[in-house]
């Protein structure tokens, strides 16, 4: 049973313990109640997958060009910055109007300004630059996560690109990420929210040593490392 090539030359005491352990091996079949439970779980997984084929079907999804994403995010950032300027001007013009709310001559303009603000809040801001800006400030990495495929041969290149382009950490983004993607016992390291094989996950860039940096990929809610890669230290 035990591979003899691994166990040659053991001291007698260790060899005796090994024999005791081998004798205590479990040879029985899986209990029927456990089999039934596993089958039920499998059926639930299959139906979940049928409803949303992303988890495994997405493993062949092409990896997002992180460079293109970076340019797009930069564009969004510029747009957001422009929106801040526009909003500042609008609010600056609006405040005096609101403060003159009792003035009948300016009631229409003040009403128009407040309507614009409430509309953007009500519809979630999908097409409003006013609403995109605060979302991007709160947690940019939760809105548009880069997709990584663990089966891609260029995963290390993607991670290098991700490392070079990942946004600066902030307390708000870290706490938001922790709320959305909890990974128990992930340990220390720079965390970046990603999609791992179509599933929400985390990339954790560990502290680099002299020449290398370890990178661990996790799926949200699971402490098991999906992949570990070693990159050149930044």
């Amino acid at each position: 049973m035990t591979d003899s090539t691994d166990q040659t030359g053991l001291p007698p005491e260790q060899d005796a313990v090994r024999r005791l352990l081998a004798d205590a091996r479990h040879d029985g079949a899986t209990p029927p109640e456990v089999v039934a439970r596993l089958d039920a779980t499998l059926a639930a997984l299959a139906s979940e997958r049928h409803a949303s084929p992303a988890p495994t079907g997405a493993t062949k999804a092409p990896v997002v060009d992180l460079g293109a994403r970076r340019r797009r995010m930069a564009g969004i950032g510029l747009l957001a910055a422009a929106a801040v300027v526009v909003a500042g001007v609008a609010v600056g013009n609006g405040l005096p109007s609101i403060s003159r709310g009792s003035d009948d001559s300016s009631a229409s303009s003040a009403g128009g300004s407040s309507q614009e603000l409430s509309d953007s809040g009500a519809d979630g801001g999908a097409d409003s630059s006013m609403s995109q800006q605060p979302k991007a400030q709160l947690s940019p990495d939760l809105m548009d996560q880069p997709q990584l495929s663990t089966t891609d041969d260029d995963l290390d290149d993607d991670l290098l690109l991700l490392r070079d382009t990942m946004p600066a950490a902030s307390a708000s983004s870290e706490s938001a990420r922790a709320a959305v993607c909890a990974v128990p016992g992930v340990g220390r390291g720079r965390q970046v929210g990603v999609d791992v094989d179509g599933v929400p996950g985390l990339v954790v860039f560990r502290r680099p040593d002299d020449s290398t940096q370890r990178v661990d990929l996790y799926v949200c809610g699971d402490a098991a490392v999906v992949r570990t890669l070693t990159l050149p230290a930044p």
Partner: protein, 224 residues
């Protein structure tokens, strides 16, 4: 397409990734009993083993796309299940000695697999020995326990266990060696004299009926 029961593990896993609804169930069923044995011995009791095995199955189902084909599918499955078990142990700080009740399902397994049906005393002795081994195994740190379960109980080669545990072969050997040394101390009375290191009388009971040796100067009243 081949009949489902004729496809290789790798073909089944790929079929699952490609959307075959039945492939993963077929694959897992092939290895379920051995995965159960590993989970049972790693977790120490059937309830936690069922939880660990289920966690592992869910993880494998969802992460099948991450399998890169560098190892055997069964090695990958073991790795996922063992990691799920170790995660549970670490999270809940399960100690087998605390978790194992006096009359667990596993005890029945021990009796059922004993090969002394016609010798009740021998069967009881075998069952008791196995119970003590499992109790002692449960006191080991989870990493050492997992290594011993895979290497010494399940008989996997060290190199394959290193892949399962995601560590170097030397680490597996070290964990096994430290674990066996600790178990040797706990199970000293189960080891024969030939198994013990020379000059190591510390373990176990003293020889029975040994004469009490004189301590040198005979006792007497104190000198005036």
């Amino acid at each position: 397409m081949n009949a489902p029961d004729q496809r290789s593990d790798r073909e089944l896993l790929q079929a699952h990734v490609d959307g075959d609804a039945d492939a993963f169930g077929e694959l897992f069923a092939r290895h379920r009993d051995r995965l159960w044995a590993v989970a049972l011995r790693t977790m120490g009791n059937p309830e936690d083993a069922a939880d660990g095995l289920q966690d592992g199955m869910i993880a494998a189902f969802r992460r099948a796309g991450s399998f890169r084909g560098e190892a055997q599918v069964t090695t990958w499955l073991h790795r996922v299940v063992v990691n799920a078990c170790l995660d549970r142990i670490r999270a809940a700080k399960i100690r087998r000695l605390d978790a194992l009740p006096d009359d667990v399902e596993d005890r029945g397994t021990l009796v059922a697999t004993a090969q002394h049906d016609d010798l009740p005393d021998a069967a009881a002795e075998t069952t008791e020995r196995r119970r003590r081994v499992l109790d002692a195994l449960g006191t080991l740190p989870p990493d050492q326990r997992a290594a011993l379960v895979l290497v010494d109980m399940e008989g996997y080669p060290v190199a394959e266990v290193a892949e399962m545990l995601g560590c170097a072969e030397g680490t597996v050997k070290s964990r096994c060696s430290r674990g066996r040394t600790r178990l040797a101390g706990l199970l000293a009375d189960l080891l024969t004299d030939a198994d013990r290191p020379v000059g190591d009388p510390a373990h176990g009971n003293p020889p029975p009926d040994g004469p009490v040796q004189p301590t040198g100067r005979p006792r007497g009243p104190p000198a005036p």
